[in-house]
């Protein structure tokens, strides 16, 4: 598979949110306004890319030689937690306003399934380092794309007359359902 197809399929066809149902919690949580959605998206791209590459190196050069493959899950989640902590400190130092906006969602990237999924997906598909980079960029890009599109739609929804029971999150899931329908037609692209 060439790298462009790999990127495109991770970005659109196997989009983690609409096709794999991964990373829904922050997707619903941060997507009510466009600006924090972009900030969160960028943070997630950075974390997924960094963590995937580090996890790949850790797996290939530490776990495999030591025959500790079964420790994969524990090592990866610790790696991700440490990496997110690092990013959090970095953003706090360099951009306090962004830090304030992202608020509680930054530590939550640790428990964002997308990061762990990306790290494990690269290993289980047997990608090499270049493919790992491309695939994790595709996965993270797909996450951000959905987050921004979704936030735009939700901003438009504000002030509309929605049935009381559907206000807030339920209507967001209806939108997600319609978006999933639209994206399923891209399946034949690659």
């Amino acid at each position: 598979m060439n790298l462009f197809t790999l990127f495109l399929s991770a970005l659109l066809i196997n989009n983690i949110i609409l096709a794999k149902f991964i990373g829904i919690c922050p997707f619903i949580g941060v997507s009510s306004k466009v600006e924090p959605a972009i900030g969160m998206g960028l943070a997630v791209i950075f974390v997924i890319f960094g963590a995937s590459v580090l996890a790949w190196l850790l797996y290939k050069f530490v776990l495999v030689p030591l025959e500790l493959e079964y420790m994969e899950l524990i090592c990866f989640i610790l790696l991700i937690a440490a990496f997110v902590q690092f990013v959090e400190m970095f953003i706090k130092k360099t951009s306090p306003s962004l830090y304030q906006q992202l608020g509680i969602y930054l530590p939550l990237i640790t428990t964002n399934c997308a990061v762990l999924y990306a790290a494990q997906n690269n290993i289980s598909e047997g990608y090499n380092l270049i493919e790992t980079m491309v695939n994790s960029l595709g996965i993270a890009g797909g996450f951000m794309l959905m987050l921004v599109i979704f936030a735009t739609i939700r901003e438009r929804l504000q002030g509309n007359n929605i049935p009381k029971a559907f206000q807030g999150n339920p209507i967001a899931f209806i939108i997600a359902a319609i978006m999933a329908l639209a994206f399923s037609s891209l399946a034949g692209l690659v």
């Binding site: 149902f21 989640i77 999924y117 494990q120 029971a165 359902a177």
Partner: protein, 220 residues
């Protein structure tokens, strides 16, 4: 009677999935059949109960700064155990659940309960809390998979995950009347939206009841 209603209300309104929107990813992804939902439910109950127990045991000796990594290591260890057991004894379930067994680690319900409840309460209470939360998670995903399997395939079926023997398999909708959309992604989001709206409507109903009652009390 009153206690029973309280329990029922709590199960619905404080439901981790539809009420608090935790652990949504797995509840959308694996609820295509009753089998997957039960398998996932049991795995989550196991991890939740034991993670609550261990977190509660170490709650007094864990330094505050590193409590999250400690909890995550406990949870990841338990999930690795569950994964190995499922892989060894129920391979068909293992393929069906796929990456979502690993993703139990990052299921917000588990870390959430460890942080909010088990780190402050005794071992017994924590185990009980884990069991209750796990049960209401399982009930939620069972409800989802019931609707999706029924509408998507027209059948309800259950089989033994250890040897794939069928326990029951009934066709409730006549052939040609099933809606395959419901087995796919769109159906998952749609089912979730409608169920969450039902819970929200029930919550609104309770709120108005309460308001009327306080009004009555004020006029008295």
């Amino acid at each position: 009677m009153e206690k029973k209603q309280g329990f029922f209300t709590k199960l619905l309104v404080e439901n981790p999935v539809f009420g608090l929107y935790l652990g949504i990813c797995s509840s959308l992804a694996i609820t295509t059949t009753l089998n997957n939902a039960i398998g996932m439910g049991v795995a989550v109950i196991f991890v939740l109960v034991f993670s609550n127990i261990f977190v509660s045991l170490v709650r007094n000796i864990t330094p505050d700064d590193i409590h999250i990594p400690v909890y995550i290591v406990i949870i990841a260890t338990l999930v690795t155990i569950v994964k190995m057991v499922i892989q060894a004894y129920a391979p068909s379930l293992y393929t069906a659940l796929g990456a979502f067994i690993d993703l139990i680690v990052v299921n917000c319900i588990i870390l959430g309960r460890a942080e909010a409840f088990a780190s402050k309460n005794s071992v017994g209470a924590s185990a009980m809390d884990g069991l209750m939360m796990g049960l209401s998670y399982t009930l939620s995903i069972l409800a989802m998979s019931f609707i999706r399997q029924l509408l998507g395939t027209g059948c309800l079926s259950l089989s033994n995950p250890f040897n794939n023997a069928t326990i029951f398999d009934i066709r409730l909708l006549p052939q040609g009347y099933e809606i395959p959309l419901f087995t796919g992604q769109t159906g998952a989001f749609l089912t979730f939206a409608v169920l969450a709206a039902c819970i929200a409507a029930y919550k609104n109903h309770l709120d108005t009841l309460e308001k009327e009652e306080t009004k009555k009390g004020a006029t008295k």
